[in-house]
Symmetry: C3
Subunit: 269 residues, 3 copies
């Protein structure tokens, strides 16, 4: 049983292979999702027309879905992209952004999970609780505390959905049927910047494009991303300069820094 | 008759209560609208699917509508959200972005005003003039000078529509049937940054979420926002760094700064 | 035959005339497209409802189309705007963003070229090759090398489509039936920032709004934009601060700087 992972090695692989990461995402943070993928050294595309969602998936190595500004039609386009990804056997990441806030969101998340194969389900603690069937009222899209053991919740959902589950928070929980990995990097300012959650899903998708062990990919991606946030913190004067520095620090992240700062703990597995 | 207001007290209330502010807004500045709300310490949501616009309103404390990139369907979703807000008796702010530029915009603004209760009508001088029935040709979405007395125009619209009217400009005019408040903060660089007008509407919506006197809420919100712009100015090298610093300065705004810099004048009321 | 151009004179004209530049563009970079136009001193509008696309064109001096996040309906709205621009005899710029990536994109680019008059066709080398009928597989929206002579390809497309053709890259090629202009400004970091290509199209559209010789307009616009990128480079710590500085440097660009740094070469014409 390994007790840690080489997060930097996966970042290097992203930079070497420059995978295309296809997105069907929300209109609020779509730019940041694209830029975080490019900052990692990969190549983002975002194409939501149902007529080309499958074609675009065919030139991609991962698909990131985010329901932040969903419509009924948009969800149908997501299904087209997800099914194309399933056929091509490339990973599909679903950010269940705002799950629990409205019944439409809950219904559409279930539709996506039931009608396509989602490889990685990602949300904050309350969103993951909701998708797990726990009765939690989301306060908009911001994290709220969740009663109960998040680790158990995430792993139970992972087993039931044959997926990797990522519950982000002060400590990120990444669970699959074989184990749980905790990522303890990051800082509180991230929660004051719109889009840090959406970007996390794009980062995970990018790492999953180059690593078939999705628990490993998610943990390594989150660690690199959150280490960049830690580096950005002292260079910032507030949330906007912090976001800018997060991008800049991620762009030039090197092995000694990642090795020195990564705080990843493999609990089981 | 008060001659000034305690703008900072309202900002503190926003930070304490962290209200959810729901948006149906345009695709150009949607990120900035979300981020300015979060920077104030509140919680933005943006959900435009007609199937969830009412549900999302039910977890919110204010609704901000902005017609910047309107479509016919999008306006219908706005009506759903506005009516849910009306039932819940939470404020609805309408940014009449680009009113006067096309007949579609003029027609849809009237529909929203006639078919729902809009509590705060916000625009620049030429947009407010257009909504008032004055014959002004908008030059895109940028402010143009308006003949006649803007204060009279705004208050007349306020009386006719039983609303608070905000006309932004070098001096912002906030009018309701009982009085007029002028805000003289801000600077010229704001007009060189796309989204400063849209963000102003989001700020007003956020303050109106915690203060039922909407003229007071709008004046306090605009003052805080524009004081942040004044603080950002000397830290900037151009419009992009100015926008970043505006967010950062708003995030850490404190009472002594607001008290020292606020330039609010209650003309009547 | 002139061997160079006065790029700064055109920038001054943009600043003096402040033309309205209408966009039907993608949701990823729409903010940056608006902000780059405003930073030049012009006035951006973005309105995609088919009911107002013609009306908005009537208050504009140029129309920029970008198929980055196309849908079938959106292309129809583009046709409405393009035809209104054709009637008004103002330039239409088409950014063939992602051409070659899917058959939908290829088909819709051809529809726009066949059913409306496009005055300036803009893409990276692989996109322009694809529109020219060369068999190139685009890797997402990022530039790939193209076999063959890009100058010949661009001019041949220009002749066939009676248009000015802009192929961006390390060296930008601007071709029309009478000649070719090369712009050698810019730097490699531009390709690490999402939206630099889209913004280039907006810059070209803005310059074409004030100069009827579109080859001259495109060359001058690209030179000014890329000189700003060169100035931004040493002030940057990575892609995000670079983008911010690009805006700030473009905002304050002056004649001595442009004259000192512009690297424009008129090959033929």
């Amino acid at each position: 049983v390994k007790t840690t992972i080489d997060a930097y090695e996966l970042l290097e692989r992203v930079r070497d292979k420059a995978p295309v990461v296809h997105h069907l995402t929300n209109w609020v943070t779509i730019y940041d999702c694209a830029q975080i993928v490019k900052t990692l050294g990969a190549s983002p595309v975002m194409a939501h027309a149902p007529e080309e969602a499958a074609d675009m998936t065919n030139i991609a190595s991962a698909v990131v879905l985010n329901i932040g500004t969903l419509t009924v039609d948009f969800i149908e386009a997501m299904k087209v992209a997800a099914r194309a990804a399933n056929r091509k056997r490339i990973p599909v990441i679903l950010d269940v952004c705002g799950a629990g806030a409205t019944s439409l969101r809950d219904a559409k998340v279930l539709e996506l999970l039931d009608q396509t194969k989602i490889n990685i389900i990602k949300g904050n603690a309350s969103e993951i609780a909701r998708v797990s069937g726990e009765n939690v009222q989301t306060q908009g899209v911001d994290t709220t505390d969740v009663a109960g053991d998040l680790k158990k919740l995430a792993q139970s959902l992972a087993v039931r959905r044959h997926a990797t589950v990522v519950a982000t928070g002060k400590v990120d929980v990444v669970a699959d049927s074989t184990g749980i990995t905790l990522i303890k990097n990051g800082n509180a300012l991230m929660s004051r910047v719109v889009g840090t959650g959406c970007m996390a899903a794009s980062v995970i998708g990018t790492f999953a494009a180059v690593e078939a062990d999705y628990r490993l990919a998610a943990a390594a991606g989150l660690a690199c991303y959150e280490i960049a946030a830690e580096l950005a913190m002292p260079k910032s004067q507030g949330p906007a300069s912090f976001k800018q520095m997060l991008f800049d620090c991620l762009y030039s992240l090197d092995r000694p820094t990642v090795e020195r700062l990564q705080r990843i703990e493999i609990v089981i597995g």
